[in-house]
Subunit: 203 residues, 2 copies
């Protein structure tokens, strides 16, 4: 198990071939999700929901929706990361707790909720925010898994319309990505990256 942060950040790489016999427990998955939810989010609205495909039956149901990629059933679990298109509706719970704890006044709470609900009148803003904040959590999840000795793969290739229908996803959520989690059968192949000089501009 890797314990140096920089090693984990540098060495995490996508793994598509997993040990079919490896098991991850519900307790381990819950711990990973607990760490995942420590990711930041705009206004602390926590624009994420996780659908956990853990049982063989659940993974088998997901397989055709994910274009029959073998990693869906060979990995130990697959977590679908959904983005919340109405994350503003979390505002009341998040800010009521802060107000009850005396960290903010009732007036500040109402001002914040007003700003948040105002911003969410814009559908494109809501969608951008869902993808942005759910993806922050997704990266946190992949790194937490690596730190606990698991490998992962972020999967964008799945039928999103079919996913929503098959797994009763409410209209409130949009599927962002699937993440397979398991034990690699061989070391991950490190992919190339464009140089920093090419992807940055200094002001």
């Amino acid at each position: 198990m890797m314990t140096s942060v920089l090693d984990v950040l540098k060495e995490r790489a996508s793994v598509k071939e997993y040990d079919k016999d490896a098991v991850i427990t519900k307790e381990e998955l819950t711990e990973l999700l607990d760490i995942t939810t420590q990711a930041p989010s705009a206004w602390n609205l926590q624009h994420w929901h996780f659908q956990v495909f853990h049982s063989d039956e659940a993974k088998a149901a997901l397989l055709p929706v994910a274009f029959n990629q073998k990693q869906i059933i060979d990995s130990s679990a697959v977590i679908a990361v959904l983005g919340d298109l109405k994350a503003n509706e979390n505002g009341v719970e998040v800010y009521s707790e802060l107000a009850e704890q005396g960290n903010i006044t009732e007036e500040i709470k109402q001002t914040l909720l007003g700003q948040i609900n105002g911003a969410y009148q814009n559908e494109q803003f809501a969608r951008d925010s869902a993808f942005l904040n759910a993806s922050l959590a997704a990266m946190q999840l992949m790194l937490a898994a690596k730190a606990k000795g698991y490998d992962t793969c972020a999967i964008g290739g799945f039928n999103k319309e079919q996913f929503v229908k098959e797994f009763d996803v409410s209209e409130r959520f949009v599927p962002v990505m699937l993440i397979s989690i398991g034990k690699a059968v061989k070391p991950a192949h490190k992919s190339n990256r464009l140089p920093v000089s090419q992807v940055s501009t200094w002001l």
Copy 2:
């Protein structure tokens, strides 16, 4: 400096009050960005670009665009994370390198580029992908900074239209977030999170 991965993942929190005298060097920022670009991206298209506000002048120019938040000038640097709306155009470079190295055939390269360019005909897909993949890198950046002894804050509150105009952002890119980086003057305030049971569904 924290070296345990799980500690870093759990303890990173948004810091808005920075030591004005703390300095981060260009070498350190470049190392952070190098680690940042190890984040995964769909088809390895690396849908990110970083505008680095490092000089006092650059941060002063950014200040009004970011609603005069003091952290913009008190932090040691601010990195604007942009998402690439035409990340498909990176495909040729990414896959030509793989083909030259003999990792894929010319035929597979052409098939992949065809699929990628096909997907990018859909503007909503392109925008979702820009936010998604740039945000994976943003989370990686915040954790890399924490691992190197710096604190950060992801900032969604800035005038995006003004940002694009002021800093000559090409139409190819969309501003996703700003990230302030520096030395905290007091420990970060840990914010509350909704419980895992509330944000997950098990199948």
